[in-house]
């Protein structure tokens, strides 16, 4: 439990660091962000939006500590300012509208990619030295493909040329969201190609990581002993080798999450999928700084929570962390 408590404190600190970074970045970057913004769009900003912007940045003549306290205060009351793109919708509302789509798509596909990749990694390590090693170069190639490029290619082949899947969107336009068969089918149907893209783009990473870890563990005495015990191959592979090799993978899963989420967000852009990534893209396009920063905070917190979950899982899997020291 001490282990978890320490982790909890660490993540609380990281969350605080993210919040503070979010506060400091606009202040530390050279130039005044509001002027910068107004310059960039050459005065086409609504005066009300400029005001909203100033408010969102909390830029005032008060000293920086005062600004920081105000910033924390409004953060705790859920106030992230107003979006420029969707003015005058609050940033918090824009983000919470996009979040479910992203958690549904990226959350599920990341886990699927991890499970498939780890399983394949176990098998490839077990059969190392055989013809299956021939997959490795292909996997490293797959691993280096940018998510959004994979999305572009798959869209062109399967959606545009073959017409098997819808080209964009999260559901058929005009369909009213609700818990009915038609809507759910439409959602699943639209999510399929983006999901395939993310799984294809992410699983190779887990395969390679798990294989390397497995190969190291396979050299351990306890695996040799399990074999000497006359245990069935499956037991040696799963209960002895994979069960130990997966521990660093769990940590790796948590740490790679940021990369996967980043890549998947770009995938949403290709598919016009109304999740966090697509919204972020729009925020960038419209120089919508409050929205960008709100997104950054939300995504950071989501990744921190995912890390925490991975740590809890780790405690269940590794008895050594449960030791009362």
């Amino acid at each position: 439990m001490r282990y978890l408590l320490r982790k909890l404190v660490l993540y609380a600190f990281i969350a605080w660091a993210a919040v503070t970074m979010n506060f400091l970045i606009p202040r530390l970057m050279p130039g005044d962000p509001v002027t910068l913004l107004v310059d960039r769009v050459q005065g086409q900003v609504d005066p009300a939006a400029v005001e909203a912007l100033r408010e969102a940045f909390g830029l005032s003549d008060a000293n920086i500590l005062r600004q920081y306290i105000d910033y924390l205060g409004s953060l705790f009351s859920g106030d992230l300012g107003l979006s420029i793109t969707f003015y005058p919708v609050p940033v918090a509302d824009v983000v919470s509208g996009a979040m479910p789509w992203t958690i549904g798509l990226i959350g599920v596909t990341t886990v699927i990619g991890f499970v498939i990749g780890t399983g394949l990694g176990v098998l490839l390590a077990w059969r190392r030295g055989s013809w299956t090693d021939g997959f490795l170069p292909g996997l490293t190639f797959l691993n280096a493909i940018p998510y959004f490029w994979m999305a572009l290619v798959l869209v062109m082949i399967f959606a545009v040329n073959l017409g098997w899947f819808p080209v964009s969107g999260a559901h058929t336009p005009g369909l009213r969201p609700g818990w009915n068969g038609e809507f759910i089918t439409s959602v699943l149907w639209h999510a399929l190609l983006p999901a395939i893209t993310i799984v294809l783009a992410s699983f190779a990473n887990w395969v390679i990581g798990m294989r390397n870890m497995m190969v190291t563990v396979l050299g351990e005495d306890y695996v040799t002993m399990a074999e000497a015990k006359g245990l069935p191959e499956r037991t040696v592979m799963v209960r002895y080798a994979a069960r130990n090799a997966i521990l660093p993978s769990i940590t790796g899963f948590a740490l790679s999450l940021g990369t996967v989420v980043g890549g998947s967000m770009l995938t949403e852009v290709i598919f016009n999928y109304p999740g966090v990534g697509y919204t972020l893209f729009q925020a960038v396009k419209n120089q919508d700084f409050p929205l960008m920063q709100g997104m950054f905070l939300y995504i950071s917190v989501a990744v921190i929570i995912a890390n925490l979950i991975a740590d809890v899982v780790y405690v269940f899997l590794d008895p050594r962390t449960r030791q009362e020291a």
């Binding site: 940018p146 050299g219 005495d221 980043g262 893209f281 950071s300």
Partner: protein, 621 residues
């Protein structure tokens, strides 16, 4: 490695060719290109032709010109960002790991912050605020968001390196901290740093592509990412203009794969277990580490790697520790007579029937430097209840011999001749262990031969309880036992080795080293096997515990009547406990016979030398 300029691995070669191709493209491509990357022309969205080698964009720009210029930008950003990220991660990782204490705590937390906070959104926010976005500033921002992972890896490596002998030795000689860090620690981290660098380049190229794709890249230049941005925003995929968006993404993926392939070479160099092919190289490290591994050179390396046991340092560490071991020092004055002297194989009149007969066994390892004969023409017989002591330095072939008997030899080792006969009952036809089918082998294992490994720390599965590690054996070999009977048996066995039966619920990390070794012995006994192979079962324990465990083994032998093959460096120990002794050297049996005879009248000069060195050390026999 150093003798060869062209790397042997096909993977590394392919990777180098790919990367070299793109470097050349970046260097010379823009000179070859006949158009400016930004100049629009009259031919809009044309497929590749003689005029436009890779077609044109919607504005009539030449895709090849963009592609070649993009290579420059993408590679430049990748390299700059990777260099900057690497410098930060080396500073943070090595300093934190080496200095420990508060510095380390602070740096560790800083690393954790950058590790957990997702890089892409942070990048977007940071670059969003950049007043002017040039190639360099984009690269630096990418570096700031991407150094953490490799800093953590380097910290862990530094933590483990600083406790190694050669670093301790440097500290003892009073070298300054910075000198230790730069000349002892860093050289040993080079493979890690190199592989981290390669991955940083990939990550930075990907990050730049992602940023440019969002329209956040360098505003004044064409990169592969910005090509994709314009292709996407003008819906190139709807028009089927594959020539526009396929090349940049493909190039990124190819470079990534190329760098990863080069990294395979680095990885396999640093971690020999990862090698896929049959080629194995000796490891070499920093200068002090090398000095310490002299002892375990040649055959030692050839044997320890496939056997899956530790590194060359462990071998050296074991053989240089004091106490009448077969140290390599004994070999310094080895003359030709050691190699040419005839083996002293005596008739071994042990009472009882044979249980294992090894006949004319030959085992080979193919290596890069030719075939190593790890075991040559070895014949020994183990009788029921006998303790056979197998002595020899690391690399003498004793582990290969026992691993052949238990069929635990790892590829690429192969048995090229001979047999291992197991006599189940007196008078019945013996079975050849080497020809057993997979199911028959599984049934034979542990029921007839069990193994106690050198280091119990590693022989017990750290994530399973002691009970679970008894239980899986019993489930497989005694399928009719009930759960209650299995638990009762596990508790009984623990009692037999002098451990509180309630410890069945413990995990290995909750037991002391001596207790772990007793648990390993208890598990080895659970099926009442005829033979137990003990591979230096006491080497890893401290002296007092060693003695206790040995006494335990001897009294259990008297109770259960199993035969033991006991491997060790420690000849003095063997002369005390073994009924017969076999001495191996360079894969051959040089001395074999009853322990007392070997002690009184050693027949081979090597044995004489070992006994002499024992006498010199003042060991009481």
């Amino acid at each position: 490695m150093s003798r060869r300029l062209i790397p042997a691995s096909g993977k590394v070669r392919a990777g180098l060719i790919i990367v070299a191709f793109f470097l050349l493209l970046a260097a010379f491509g823009p000179m070859v290109a006949q158009h400016s990357p930004t100049a629009s022309g009259p031919h809009l969205l044309q497929p590749p032709s003689a005029e436009h080698w890779m077609g044109t964009t919607q504005l009539g720009q030449d895709v090849f010109a963009q592609f070649a210029h993009g290579a420059r930008i993408s590679l430049a950003v990748g390299l700059i960002a990777a260099v900057v990220a690497k410098i930060i991660s080396i500073l943070v990782g090595v300093i934190g790991g080496y200095f420990r204490g508060l510095t380390d705590e602070a740096l560790y937390i800083l690393t954790a912050v950058f590790l957990v906070i997702p890089a892409m959104p942070l990048l977007i926010v940071l670059t969003g605020y950049l007043p002017s976005r040039g190639v360099e500033s984009v690269a630096v921002v990418i570096a700031i968001t991407s150094w953490a992972g490799s800093a953590r890896v380097l910290r862990a490596q530094t933590l483990s390196l600083r406790r190694r002998d050669f670093v301790e030795a440097a500290r003892a000689t009073g070298e300054s901290r910075w000198r230790i860090i730069t000349s002892e620690i860093m050289p040993n981290e080079l493979p890690l740093i190199a592989s981290g660098f390669l991955f940083s380049v990939i990550a930075a190229i990907l990050a730049e592509a992602g940023l440019s794709f969002l329209g956040l890249g360098s505003l004044t230049t064409t990169s592969w990412g910005s090509m994709l941005y314009f292709a996407q925003s003008s819906q190139a995929f709807l028009f089927g203009a594959w020539w526009w968006f396929v090349p940049p993404g493909l190039a990124i993926a190819l470079i990534g794969a190329g760098l990863a392939l080069i990294n395979f070479g680095v990885d396999e160099y640093a971690n020999p277990r990862l090698r896929t092919g049959k080629k194995r190289r000796d490891r070499s490290k920093g200068r002090r580490a090398q000095a310490l591994t002299v002892a375990g050179s040649g055959l030692a390396a050839a044997e320890t790697v496939p056997a899956g046991s530790g590194s060359a340092e462990e071998v050296a560490g074991a053989s240089t520790s004091a106490g009448g071991r077969i140290g390599e020092s004994a070999l310094t004055d080895s003359g030709d007579d050691l190699d040419t002297a005839p083996a002293a194989i005596r008739h071994n009149p042990v009472a009882g029937e044979p249980v294992i007969e090894v006949r004319d066994l030959n085992v080979e390892y193919p290596t890069e430097h030719g075939v190593v004969h790890a075991v040559q023409d070895v014949s020994v017989t183990l009788h029921r209840g006998e303790i056979l002591g197998l002595a020899g330095e690391s690399g003498s072939g004793k582990s290969t011999l026992t691993n052949t008997i238990t069929r635990l030899l790892r590829s690429p080792a192969r048995v090229t001749g001979g047999s291992v006969l197991y006599h189940r009952h007196a008078g019945r036809e013996p079975i050849d262990v080497l020809t057993l089918s997979a199911p028959a082998l599984r049934a034979f294992r542990w029921a007839e031969i069990s193994v106690v490994f050198q280091s119990a720390m590693n022989a017990l599965n750290p994530v399973l309880t002691v009970y679970a590690q008894f239980d899986d054996v019993l489930r497989v070999h005694r399928p009719r036992m009930s759960a209650r009977e299995r638990m009762a048996l596990a508790r009984t066995m623990l009692e037999k080795v002098g451990i509180d039966p309630d410890r069945v619920r413990s995990y290995p990390h909750e037991l002391s080293g001596g207790m772990k070794q007793r648990v390993a012995i208890a598990i080895a006994l659970v099926l009442d096997p005829d033979i137990i192979i003990m591979d230096e079962p006491t080497t890893a324990l401290d002296l007092l515990v060693q003695r206790e465990v040995l006494d335990q083994i001897m009294s259990l032998r008297d109770e259960f009547g199993f035969a033991i093959i006991f491997t060790t460096h420690d000849l003095a120990l063997l002369l005390e406990i073994a009924d017969s002794v076999a001495v191996m050297r360079s894969g051959r049996l040089v001395e074999y016979g009853p322990a007392l005879d070997v002690y009184r009248a050693p027949g081979h000069p090597y044995t004489r030398m070992l006994l002499q060195s024992l006498a010199d050390l003042g060991a009481k026999l």
